[in-house]
Amino acid sequence: MTAGTLISGQRGDGLALAATGSWTAEHARTLEPMVDAVTRQKASVRSVAIDVARIDRIDSYGAWLLERALRTWSSQGCETRIVGLSEDYRGLFEKIRAGTHKLTPEPRRPNPIVATFESVGKTMTLVGEDLALLVQMLGALIVAFLRVLVRPYTFRFTSMVNHLERVGWNAVPIILMITLLIGAILAQQGIFHFRTFGADIYVVDMVGVLVLREIGVVIVCIMVAGRSGSAYTAELGSMKMREEIDALRTMGFDPVEVLILPRILALVIAVPILTFLGSMAALYGGGLVSWLYGGISPTIFMNRLHDAVSVQSFEVGMIKAPFMAVIIGLVACVEGLQVKGSAESLGTKTTDSVVKSIFLVIVLDGAFAVFFASIGI
């Protein structure tokens, strides 16, 4: 079908235009400049009539282009009308004529400097609110825990075992693999650099102390935050979205006691075990690389390790694990309960949960380092 045309003719001091052909969306690209050209050329006329009787097809695009031209002329004090409008298209033209087609001017943007300060301020209050929520959740958790201690039969043991399987047992393979690799990489880097000044054997000290005190627990906690913390947030969030948590409340149950306590207790049990397994795997990986790459035989490695690390290093690492578990669990549950109705908020809260819990794990690790240094361990 051919694109529409606008044939112009003069009638007295008025302009008589005849539109023909197809005035549809697919031709709008050629129609627009043509209509604009006619509108611009014939600016100084007293009246304009557009004959639309010979149009084959027209849709809202064509109708608007004609209407727009008429409005331009009208605004210049010109009389305008449409002639030969068939019954089929009358409704369309009326609909188009009824619209303003004008966008209200955009609201003024605030000064960029002010906006930056504003967003920084808002973020700071959000951080404060987050902390308050975390403390609030910790309080609710302790209350729920005490209540369970008084009435142990109300504790959801089955639920906790289920979570223990998911966050503990099922996490073992991936934790072992990652920590083994980390231990191996530490040892390899150590040997590579220590060798230049003949201190290869100190690699055992480095791997032993680092893994047992810091790396083991931190890597495990980061893995758990990414794997289980996010799962907690997503589960609680989707329960919140489907009003399941409200349903629990209306039945007189405390969501903290029913949903959150078993989850966090499961983490508190699982994370130390995973930390222990992870540390052992990292030492094994370190030993393996020392042997194959550094030529330190397993016997020498074990002897050296025995001298280098004390049980205290191991304890320092292990004591941190349950605290880390609580932090991960708290953040995950707080974020989960903050999910609003939409799927987007579930996604952002899950991301927030992982980011915040990893951040807090590292902050807590730093706090522990300061603490242990000051008591001289």
Binding site: M1, T24, A25, E26, A28, R29, E32, D56, R57, D59, S60, Y61, W64, L65, R68, D88, G91, L92, E94, K95, I96, A98, G99, T100, H101, K102, L103, T104, E106, S342, E344
Partner: protein, 261 residues
């Protein structure tokens, strides 16, 4: 050009659709005529949405033939399919507005993709579509998450109408709306269909909207079309499911009066 009356814009023949081992549609024959509003009804799970989604090409079919605007979808080239995509608009049940774009950009999206027009004309057309569906131009800058359910449906309808389609698919357009909004939406569909001359295929559960809007109704059951025809034909039918659907507690008394009287 005046379109020939009663020509089919969509022709479905012997359509079979399986979901894994379960046969959902088993030999469906249905036509959508130019300029009519056809309503699909049927029990939940009868395959109304499946049929609509198969016609749009979102679901694969096992066998059968679907012709849209005279083109057999199976034999169509990529360009032909794209041309057909341009000539239909789909209103999804939840609106399916892109959440990362403002309402205005949502409506402009298909216009920008398919027609290379000046920015001014694109914006004017987007605003025109908003006004056509009864929304204020201010909605242009809002995000879908800021709108109410009824406004989302209207904005989504505006996007479906962006390219002035010849066929409009509506999936439960009035679900989730209060009766007043639903009534207004029905009226909107009716006026738009009349002014723009669109052929409409709607899946619905809303007896009021069937009654007020649809020219013809196709009833799906057991994977087939049980009956297709006008509302009067539905009310006269002695099919047990149709009897309970159209004469049940939720059907309005005045319809029966109309048929009997």
């Amino acid at each position: 050009m005046v379109p020939a009356p009663n020509s089919e814009v969509i022709k479905v023949r012997d359509l079979i659709v399986d979901f894994e081992a379960h046969r959902v549609l088993n030999g469906v024959n249905v036509d959508l005529y130019r300029g009519e509003i056809l309503g699909f009804v049927g029990a939940s799970g009868a395959g109304k949405s499946t049929l609509a989604r198969t016609i749009i090409g979102l679901l694969p079919k096992r066998a059968g033939r679907i012709e849209v605007l005279g083109v057999d979808i199976d034999r169509a080239s990529h360009e032909q399919k794209r041309a057909i995509d341009r000539r239909w608009g789909v209103l999804f049940q939840q609106g399916a507005l892109f959440s990362s774009l403002t309402v205005g950009k949502n409506i402009e999206f298909p216009i920008r993709e398919y027609l290379r027009l000046s920015d001014r004309l694109i914006t004017e057309m987007a605003v025109a579509k908003l006004e056509m569906v009864g929304l204020s131009p201010d909605v242009y800058r809002e995000y879908p998450s800021e709108l109410s359910g009824g406004m989302i449906k209207r904005a989504a309808l505006a996007r479906a109408l962006a390219l002035d389609p010849e066929i409009l698919f509506l999936d439960e357009p009035t679900s989730g709306l209060d009766p007043i909004s639903a009534g207004e939406f029905d009226q909107l569909i009716l006026t738009l269909q009349q002014t723009l001359g669109i052929s409409v295929l709607m899946v619905t559960h809303d007896l009021d909207s069937l009654h007020r809007v649809c020219d013809r109704i196709a009833v799906l059951g057991d994977g087939k079309i049980i009956l297709a025809g006008t509302m009067d034909k539905m009310l006269e039918s002695k099919h047990p499911w149709l009897m309970s659907y159209f004469h049940g507690d939720r059907a309005h008394a005045d319809w029966h009066v109309r048929v009997k009287g």
